[in-house]
């Protein structure tokens, strides 16, 4: 057991975590949204997006267009929703914009999902971002880890084993 070696390892680990965190924060600053990369959790946009697909969001647009795929948050619900804009109504100087959304794979629009009996979303308040880029299936690991109770331990065990065996 070499204390200096172990401490260096710990420092390296801290460096990896902090640089990942900095990357995330930098990205959210550039895209102007609190979650610039999201993983699709439901099948409501199939066949465009499957569960586990990764989406890159951008929130510096002044207004959303019809057909844009947006991520929005509903008061009182934890999980943001990814759906397509069906209608948009905005004022001349883009001060206010009202949106109606619908999932490609759903039969009806999203009015039943909105909070407080609203029938429109507010662009400035509710929208987290617009989907600009797409990468398939890479996020499935996060779904697997959060939904399978053994997966968490398997992942931790794998990490521990690799650090024990690979460390020199």
């Amino acid at each position: 057991m070499n204390l200096r070696l172990e401490l260096t390892k710990l420092l390296n680990l801290c460096f990896v975590f902090s640089s990942a965190y900095m990357f995330w924060q930098g990205l959210s600053l550039v895209a102007n949204t609190h979650s610039p990369i999201v993983v699709v959790l439901s099948g409501s946009m199939e066949p465009a997006f499957q569960r586990g697909d990764i989406l890159f969001l951008w929130n510096r647009n002044q207004a959303s267009n019809v057909g844009d795929i947006v991520v929005y948050e509903v008061d009182g619900k934890q999980i943001p929703i990814v759906h397509r804009v069906l209608r948009e109504h905005h004022s001349a100087n883009f001060e206010k914009q009202y949106l109606l959304t619908k999932g490609d794979n759903n039969a009806a629009n999203d009015i039943s999902l909105y909070a407080n009996k609203k029938i429109y979303l507010n662009k400035q308040k509710d929208i987290v971002g617009t989907v600009k880029g797409y990468f398939p299936q890479l996020g499935y690991v996060t779904i697997w880890v959060s939904e399978n109770k053994y997966a968490k331990f398997a992942l931790l065990g794998l990490l521990a084993l690799s650090s024990l065996v690979g460390g020199e």
Binding site: N2, L164, V165, G166, G167, E168
Partner: protein
Amino acid sequence: MEVFQELSQKLVFPIDYKSQKYIGKQMNVAIAAVGIAATVYGYMTGSIQNLLICYIAGLLGTCIWLVPAYPAYRKHNLKFVEKPVINITTD
């Protein structure tokens, strides 16, 4: 802990600078070749799935070819090193 240290010693290859350098070079070339071949094949057939299948198959092939320490990669072992890893314990 003993078991893990023994395991990590087993996984360390004999020191052979010449072969290791050769493997490093070969790996670059192999991955580039596999990638280009897969891209061209996928583009010709117009299918991303084909590209992905080719790329993964090629990588598996490269893995089998270059990762294990075959006798051919151990020809230039350093003679004066008895054990591949020397554990130094500090008191």
